[in-house]
């Protein structure tokens, strides 16, 4: 048994629902008790879908268990067919349905429905949502694909691509698809099929006629792509175009596999991509070396770590994912940033890791938003699971050149703005710019209650005028960077104890003269230095020794 407060992924049948709700003309009959219909509201509320997911729940009750739940399943399946007239159906069981072992596959087959019925075996007690989505999509493709299909000769026509992986309730899938489609078309590649999102069963049947497939979201499409490789020897594009570099690499890979010139698509960057200049412009200097903790599904986490490190100039202070299926790729990426890979679906473990790393920005999921809020650290949401505010009304892709622009904004906006950071330093002690004021545009970063450390502050910052000493390590990309959210608000739990180091009154007062947004880092660095020397007390002298040490 696993003790779970929050979960990153739902059960595998919710993954199947994401595939079914993404497609058109497909219906899912789910052997499930009352209550499992809660999953409908994920789609209708979080994603604001205007239709119920195409799912019929058999709704068996305790009193049915001794009787004929199999007949209940068959009635539900037949009525669902009669009512919705789907072009194909998928059938399976939720966690409780699995336990009563009614064999939905056999029962559905016995009905002799006039459409293809794809049975799903989704082990609820061993697997999770993403696996369920991938398996469902694979089974649909395997069952429906016409094995005799093949691409027609290339003479006189543009290559055709199948874009695979986007589902209902996917994180920015709607916008990513639009962006990727535009890039492909710019380089002369037609998008023959997007699936599961928007695809009809009949379109999936013709998938073998594609010249190549784009595995846009490996979490949901990798199993189906392997099948296409095996069955049709279809070339698969596996670069995920998140960030400038990856988008260029993606276009190059498509060009190679489709036999086209990538230049027209690459040229779009000249007019559309703003991330490179936004990153180079001087206001962004303050972003240098800010420490970020990245966690999400493996695809987004790995991509965002690369964007953070190479395209924004952050320092990756932690990297992890919740889907074990991609642990290998995640570990390889973590090695590039010399951080310990974190592969877990236990949010308490993630919280402990974030607290220990004391980053200045958390780049994560809805769970990390909760974690970051508790720790007083800004957070950017970059991966499912996400909440309603992460399904924006505007076009906000993560992929392609426009996606890179969106990423710049997404990763930078939660932070204190560069100019404002300078002003805070200049006016510290001013009645508006004291420790508790927080950045003006960021209500969430305001400390909820005056923490003990802040209470101890003189109302007007002590000797503010007397050229305060620079913070130890400030400005230098040291192991710990300035922490606008953390510092001054009491240290995060992992270091709250101070690990046995005390401060002389003199040193403590000097520390308070340091701008609050770097004070936490200064405190950490100094204590680490003092501990490293085997000492137990921070003196004024040691404070400056530590500054010199970390400022190397």
């Amino acid at each position: 048994m696993q003790l779970a407060v929050w979960t990153y992924e739902g059960p595998p049948h919710v993954g199947a629902m994401r595939v079914a709700a993404g497609m058109e003309g497909l219906h899912y009959v789910l052997h499930a008790p009352q209550g499992d219909t809660y999953a409908d509201l994920l789609f209708t509320m979080i994603e604001r879908r205007d239709r119920r997911p195409p799912v019929t729940y058999t709704t068996f009750e305790a009193r049915d268990l001794g009787g004929d739940t199999a007949a209940l399943f068959q009635t539900a399946a037949r009525e669902a067919y009669d009512r919705f007239r789907p072009e194909a159906m998928i059938v399976g069981a939720s966690c409780t349905g699995e336990l009563i072992q009614d064999d939905p596959a056999g029962l559905a087959q016995a009905l002799g429905l006039p459409v293809p019925v794809v049975p799903l075996e989704l082990p609820s007690y061993a697997r999770k949502e993403n696996w369920g989505a991938a398996e469902t999509f694979y089974q649909i493709v395997r069952a429906l694909a016409d094995r005799t299909a093949a691409p027609p000769p290339r003479e006189g026509r543009r290559p055709r691509a199948a874009v695979l992986g986007p589902t209902a309730l996917g994180f920015r899938h709607r916008d990513d698809v639009r962006e990727v489609r535009r890039l492909l078309e710019a380089m002369g590649v037609d998008v023959m099929l997007v699936a599961p999102m928007g695809a009809r069963p009949a379109e999936i049947a013709r998938i073998g006629a594609a010249d190549l497939a784009v595995c846009l979201y490996p979490e949901t499409a990798e199993a189906a792509c392997r099948f296409l490789e095996r069955q049709f020897r279809m070339p698969i594009v596996r670069t995920v175009p998140i960030g400038m570099g990856a988008t260029r690499a993606f276009l190059a890979e498509v060009a190679e596999k489709a036999g086209v010139d990538p230049a027209p698509a690459l040229r779009l960057a000249d007019t559309e991509a703003r991330l490179p200049w936004w990153s180079r412009s001087v206001d962004s200097t303050y972003l240098t070396g800010k420490r970020v903790f990245v966690f999400g599904d493996a695809t987004h986490a790995i991509a965002l770590a690369r964007v953070a490190a190479e395209e924004i100039g952050f320092e990756v202070a932690g990297l992890g994912c919740y889907n074990r299926e991609c642990a290998r790729e995640l570990r390889a990426a973590a090695a590039r940033y010399a951080v310990e890979p974190l592969v877990t679906d236990d949010h308490l473990e993630v919280e402990a890791a974030v607290a220990a790393a004391a980053p200045e920005l958390v780049i994560g999921t809805q769970m990390e938003r909760h974690i970051a809020k508790r720790l007083g650290i800004p957070c950017a949401v970059i991966s499912a699971p996400a909440h309603v505010e992460d399904y924006p009304a505007r076009h906000a892709p993560f992929m392609g050149f426009e996606g890179a622009n969106v990423l710049f904004d997404t990763l930078v906006h939660p932070l204190v703005m560069g100019l404002e950071e300078h002003l805070l330093a200049m006016f510290r002690g001013d009645f508006e710019f004291h420790d508790e004021a927080g950045p003006s545009h960021l209500a969430s970063a305001r400390p909820a209650a005056a923490p003990p450390q802040a209470v101890a502050q003189p109302a007007v910052g002590a000797p503010a005028a007397s050229g305060a000493p620079p913070a130890p390590g400030a400005g230098a990309p040291g192991p710990a960077g300035p922490s606008p959210g953390v510092s001054g608000h009491g240290a995060p739990p992992a270091e709250a104890a101070g690990a046995g180091v005390t401060w002389t009154r003199e040193a403590e007062e000097e520390l308070r003269k340091i701008p609050f947004f770097v004070r936490g880092k200064a405190r950490r660095n100094t204590e680490a230095y003092v501990r490293g020397r085997g000492l137990g007390e921070v003196t004024l002298e040691l404070l400056y020794e530590a500054k010199a040490h970390h400022g190397r």
Binding site: M1, Q2, L3, A4, V5, W6, T7, E9, G10, P11, H13, V14, P33, Q34, G35, D36, T37, Y38, A39, D40, L41, L42, T44, M45, R48, R49, D50, R51, R52, T56, Y57, T58, T59, F60, E61, A62, L65, A76, E79, R83, S94, C95, T96, L99, I100, P123, S124, Y125, A126, K128, Q366, H370, K373, R374, H387
Partner: protein
């Protein structure tokens, strides 16, 4: 689909509730299971922890239902059954003990731990009652461990609270004497409870206790002198368990709206032998305030038609309130379970021409709603946006469970919940 017996004779007042026809349906249900009650129960009893013994689906449900409301580490969790737990029940029990030990070590503030049964735990026949006794023996007096089932195969939404309160009843101390004492059963918001306590005191009803109590271990005594006033209509099991301990239920409408609240307090006053003229005088100011506050909502709601999908079992009293105090026209009042005895006073007040339905076949019910084109549809979150997209105006029913809506001072707030979607629809020019 079956239709109950038609009334023996036309009964415009609807007084012969037993004879009222009820459409009983069986099919796909678009309602939560009983686990969802944890979302408000854990807030009512801050020293209690709810451990669902279930699947990843259960954890996902709780997170989806409660996700936006919880910022701190919540006082509920799921012990997710994994493949190896299914292999042998002895091991499952060992695993459960391990999980509970770990949990209690982390949360020394917990005084009561509820092991909450789920569909999977019921199907594999994991006996949580036995587990609770075993764990209680181990952790008492620090922590009392109880169990109940919130499984979807046995409970619908608010029935989870019923099961939880019923599990508390055997733990209530025996009343020392048969002196009359009032017990109000059903979770109420703290602010509502405080208002009610003041009114009971003014009425002259001395000893009043609430179930569940705010402190989970401060359970009120129960005995033959206990008079139970149900604050919620979904407490069938709880009422029976209290009656088994000698308590007597007071027949009353539910405290929704000015009329329902007055009727509820007057029933209590009568049971305690309080002069009805004096009781009415005590209630008059609150009732007048409620009536005044409700008046402004009558413009928005009067004459409009309303259709209830089943959700919380609050539907009948809510429909009575909308019909009688706001002049709404009731088309269909769907409820997951119609407790005829507990709702007798309510059914007597309901207009005679409304279709009552019990249970659900959601697609059939949607067809009825589409055909009737009600001005307002009260339904769950899974249906609301799809119906809005079809041009209907909806009210999320779950808000009716999570908001303080009982009593005189909240009557207009309750009306506002129904009026706002209509006002918003009239406001928007997009």
């Amino acid at each position: 689909m079956t239709v109950g017996p038609a009334p023996a004779c036309p009964d415009p007042a609807g007084a012969a509730s037993a004879a009222r026809p009820v459409l009983r349906e069986r099919g796909q249900r678009e309602v939560f299971c009983g686990l969802t009650g944890i979302v408000w129960l854990h807030r009512r009893m801050p020293d209690a922890f709810f451990l669902v013994v279930g699947s990843r689906t259960c954890a996902h449900l709780l997170q989806s239902a409660a996700g936006v409301m919880i910022f701190a580490e919540p006082r509920f969790a799921t012990a997710i059954i994994e493949e190896r737990d299914l292999a042998g029940l002895a091991d499952a029990n060992e695993e459960l003990d391990r999980v509970v030990d770990r949990l209690l070590a982390r949360r020394p503030d917990i005084r009561t731990l509820f092991l909450v049964g789920s569909c999977p735990s019921e199907v594999i026949k994991l006996d949580l009652g036995v587990a609770a006794r075993r764990l209680s023996a181990r952790h008492m007096p620090a922590v009392r461990v109880l169990s109940y089932s919130g499984s979807g195969i046995e409970t619908t939404f608010t029935q989870g609270e019923d099961a939880c309160l019923a599990a508390l009843v055997p733990e209530m101390p025996e009343a020392r004497d048969a002196a009359p004492r009032l017990l109000v059963a059903g979770t109420l918001a703290d602010i509502v409870e405080d208002q009610f306590r003041r009114l009971f005191a003014e009425l002259g009803i001395g000893e009043v206790a609430f179930l569940p109590p705010r402190a989970s271990r401060a359970l009120p005594p129960v005995g033959p002198g206990t008079r139970v006033l149900l604050a919620q209509p979904f407490l069938g099991e709880t009422a029976r368990a209290l009656e088994d301990r000698g308590a007597v239920r007071i027949e009353a409408p539910f405290p929704l709206g000015a009329e329902g609240t007055a009727g509820w307090f007057l029933a209590a006053a009568e049971a305690f032998g309080i002069d009805p003229i004096r009781a009415r005088a005590v209630l008059a100011p609150g009732r007048a305030r409620a009536a005044q506050a409700l008046a402004r909502h009558r413009d928005t709601l009067g004459g409009r038609s309303v259709f209830f999908f089943p959700d919380s079992q609050l539907e009948v009293p809510l429909a009575r309130f909308l019909a009688r105090e706001l002049g709404m026209r009731l088309l269909e009042v769907g409820t997951p379970y119609l407790h005829a005895r507990h709702l007798a006073a309510e059914l007597a007040l309901l207009p005679g021409d409304v279709l009552l339905s019990e249970g659900q076949d959601v697609d059939r019910q949607l067809a009825r709603a589409r055909a009737l084109r009600p001005d307002l549809v009260v339904c769950g979150l899974g249906l609301a946006n799809p119906l809005e997209a079809e041009g209907l105006v909806t009210k999320w029913s779950i808000e009716l469970v999570f908001s303080p809506i009982q009593g005189f001072e909240q009557a207009a707030d309750l009306a506002e919940l129904f009026a706002r979607p209509l006002r918003r629809r009239a406001l928007l020019r997009v």
